[in-house]
Symmetry: C2
Subunit: 305 residues, 2 copies
């Protein structure tokens, strides 16, 4: 389907001044403005692991494949510029599936001004997969890393947690705008996005920074979906447990120096609720904070196979 498919893509993918050479050549040329650096991320999502094609709209699959990468760029405070789409398609209904996947992907790309600069569409005997590579540039405030959190920094999170399997894992908004705004207006020492669970990704950030983290469980913003999920017949977890350990919230965890906290938490322009749920400490590991009491916590989360 190559030639005809490439012509289809050229028709449906809008031109973009950041991509002087796009679909249809051997590679794409990206214009990075004044930047000498770019930020790149790739994530695979596949039928049977990240979604079940039998149960979801393929448009949401395409959306998710791009959104998870935009979330990675957001966690670095990078401005997304372009994406490359590697798409593996089961032979049986390759063309219609490809169109639907692209439809959802292009809709999200449009809303974040991300150019689809190229890709590879591969028909095979295996299940559907997507490996999207996102390319961005450092935002005006510079990039964030996982390392850099210091003892005394507050742990601030965007949005709410838990129960994403009920829908948010497909429809979440990557925190791109929030990240660019925050990076421009505040000193943030470190950041990560929550793909594998609040505790697990918080632990990763803390480990990368060489610090520990104390959390007030009663401050965790629990998503209504976590409450609904915990009430499902057969569900063994409380809403809080879902919030702490479910994967794919795609919210940000930020390490914020204390002097920034009053202004940050009062800022109405962020667009998404921010919550301080604890602070980073010198003693490594994760700790549940309850007044003066500290109990060790084992990070539990979804670890990708």
């Amino acid at each position: 389907m190559e030639q005809e498919w490439i012509e289809y893509l050229r028709r449906v993918i809008p031109g973009n001044s950041n991509v002087p050479v796009g679909i249809g050549d051997d590679a794409a040329l990206l214009e990075l403005g004044e930047q000498h650096r770019c930020v790149v991320a790739v994530d695979i999502i596949s039928d049977g692991v990240d979604f079940s094609l039998a149960e979801v709209n393929p448009e949401l699959v395409g959306r998710k494949a791009l959104a998870v990468n935009l979330s990675d760029l957001a966690a670095m405070a990078a401005r997304p510029i372009a994406a490359l789409v590697a798409l593996g398609l089961p032979r049986s209904h390759a063309r219609s599936l490809a169109e639907q996947v692209y439809k959802g992907l292009l809709k999200l790309a449009d809303s974040y001004q991300v150019a689809i600069a190229g890709g590879d569409t591969h028909v095979w005997e295996g299940p559907l997969f997507l490996a999207v590579t996102a390319v961005g540039i450092p935002g005006p405030g510079g990039i964030w890393r996982r390392e850099g959190a210091r003892p005394g920094d507050f742990i601030v999170v965007t949005g709410s947690f838990g129960g994403s399997i009920l829908g948010k894992h497909l429809t979440f908004e990557p925190r791109v705008r929030e990240a660019l705004y925050l990076a421009e207006h505040y000193r943030i020492h470190a950041a990560i996005d929550v793909s594998d669970g609040l505790l697990l990704d918080l632990w990763r950030l803390a480990e990368a920074s060489g610090v520990g983290a104390e959390i007030d469980f009663d401050k965790i913003p629990i998503d209504p979906a976590a409450r609904r999920l915990s009430l499902t017949e057969g569900d063994q977890k409380s809403a809080l447990e879902h919030a702490l350990s479910d994967g794919e919230d795609f919210e940000l965890i930020l390490a914020v120096p204390p002097e920034e906290i009053p202004r940050l938490l009062a800022d109405k322009k962020v667009g998404t609720p921010l919550t301080a749920i604890g602070c980073f400490v010198a003693r490594k590991g994760l700790w549940q904070r309850n007044g003066e009491d500290r109990k060790p916590i084992t990070p539990a989360g979804y670890v990708h196979g």
Copy 2:
């Protein structure tokens, strides 16, 4: 296997000054030197389509996954800087397979000074696949495109053609050094790499340039493997037919203005034989040239599913 695997990758992947932030963060930061532009390409290769895992050394699979992308960058005359590796692994022997694939990939990356800046390793129930994204920068001579060939330009090819299925499709050298050298020292109007067959990719270049191409069949550099393949029992094609239509030679086709030809064909520094096999003409389509005679040719080649 995520955390332990990431630590393994951090150990085996060498540091690189072009990647200030690499494996282990949410995204990678690439340093592009003085460039405000980058060149990006992605290709999928998979078990059952591009190789048979039952028959090949997985190290060669890893090598090929990177090599096909370096070939795409070579066709743009771009200098490769970094690659991102999306790897889908069958659950049954994921870890050992991943190590072997990476071993071959890293060996090739080392010989072209390509940094492995990140990736995603994904264990699933499907077959092995790799989607490598290569990032490069325009070389000192600027980039080449498929469009730009003019009537009168010579068709010049690197290396030889046909029979790659006997081995070259796994072990070929991407023409990166040749491309950078040629782009720096000669005016080249257009280029493409031969992934789907000499005639088919020549036709693509000609179409993209809005011109036609006349070929002297007796000038085609036929690979010894094409001759061996044509002598195989049951093989229905001549060595020339293999050279014209087999895929995966990963040689370059160049559109070279006539005034550059004498110096180019006498240049001993290119490193790979160059052959002029015909010229571009105003009349669109592909034509077999035989003295004053012209016969139309239908491009035949392997079209990816």
